[in-house]
Amino acid sequence: MTSPIAGGVDCDLHPAVPHLTSLLPYMNDYWRDQVTTRGMTDLISQSYPTNSPIASRPDWRPAQGKPGSSLADMQRQALDRFGTATGICNPLYGVQMVFSEDMADAFCRALNDWLVKEWLDKDDRLRGSIVIPVQSIEKAVAEIERCAQDRRFVQVLMLVMGDMPLGKRHYWPIYAAAERLGLPIGIHAGSAYHNPPTSVGWGSYHIEDYVAQAQAFQTQLTSLIVEGVFARHPNLKMVMLESGFTWLPPFLWRLHKFWRGVRMETPWVDRAPLEIVRSNIRFSLQPVDAPPDGDTLNRLFDHMQSDELILFSTDYPHWQFDGDEVLPKGLSQDLVRKIMIDNPHATYPRLQVKETVR
């Protein structure tokens, strides 16, 4: 086992909204009445069916309520347990699924304010990601600007499967705002279910959704790179969350090969895709989608040609590892330090200063 070191940054924690009514105090009168009179109860996505094993480690599953809904549990099971200095909260709640951009906006605002009051205010190790109503660029940018005034928001959160490829220029005002405000874009596994979760149509089973996430990340990386997002925003970092990363070398080989042949289609891509990934893209550690032997993993790191790409994460409360084996076998102490401390700090500029101001 590789032991974690104290003072790390956990880049992927999932505080759960217990119920849509938990957000009512953070909505205005109109939306509070809409939720109540329409009888809306919860926004449950198919991404993590509550009873599916992956949704929570068995020993982290609470006696009642959703896994990840208790701050005390998160403190005991993740933050204290792994000596975490800073934890980044990425709420996965179905606010991106609703088709009304006005409702999505109201729910995102409520979710972000709920995160501040129920989590960030209660443990000064915690930081947050801004959840945005992506269907409306204007409202998404406004929400980024509103939340960014609180320096404890360190990232903008988007789903890997939304409405369109993420490189499309339609989204660029979001990226401009994020770059300007020192916020990386975190792209998390999951779908708004506005499109089929696979590129070939709707599957039948949960396993199809879950396995397809890796293809979605590859497609989004291709889109972001070839559309020129990082040519326009060279200082923007994007973090692939819960993406896995062992697929990266063969994917990049393929992208690089075709870029060499059809480079003239996208001449703004004036560096090899691998170089763009090295400078602008990062990946969360868990789930480690590699066999459990150190040699294989280290060979993969060699293929990635960088020790700066991986950021420590537990993916709490999802079940990606057992016991204290949050780090895979075979990592050198130097690499552990990079993954747990140096790489996250180099990625998230807002972590540099420890904020105590409310």
Binding site: E227, G228, A231, R260, D270
Partner: protein, 137 residues
């Protein structure tokens, strides 16, 4: 190194190219808008007959969506995998430090010089009153 007489200038008008083998090496000579260029006809990537590919321009960009198209007719695109090579230098565009195709200097010499030598005229009959395309190899 020897200077080889390739053809009378009249036989290689602008827009044409001539393929030949010199000392066992496949060579192509291009006339691009009156300028002559010589390249080894073998792609440094996987050995395709590179010089049979189309001549295009160079697309470059300083901002996504904005394309500058320059060097029209001076970029040779390999028929196998589409890699671009600068016909003036032989440099590849996608990986200029690792991949370049051998480029040979080509000049036009009057028949009077060619007759004097030290030229290798292959099978071409040289007349003093014509100009000839000559490649250094």
């Amino acid at each position: 190194m020897a200077r080889h007489v390739i053809a009378p200038v009249d036989e290689l008008p602008p827009g044409s190219r001539k393929f030949l083998e010199i000392d066992g090496r496949p060579i192509a000579i291009f006339n691009v808008k009156g300028e002559f260029f010589g390249l080894l006809n073998r792609c440094p990537h996987q050995g395709a007959a590179l010089c049979e590919g189309p001549l295009i321009g160079l697309a470059s960009s300083s901002d996504p969506g904005e394309i500058e198209y320059t060097k029209l007719g001076e970029i040779l695109r390999c028929p196998w995998h589409g890699w671009e090579f600068d016909i003036r230098t032989g440099q590849s565009y996608c990986d200029p430090r690792r991949f370049r195709v051998r480029a040979y200097p080509v000049s036009v010499e009057p028949g009077t010089n060619v007759v004097k030598g030290p030229y290798v005229a292959e099978t071409i009959k040289v007349a003093v009153e014509s100009d000839y395309v000559v490649v250094d190899l």
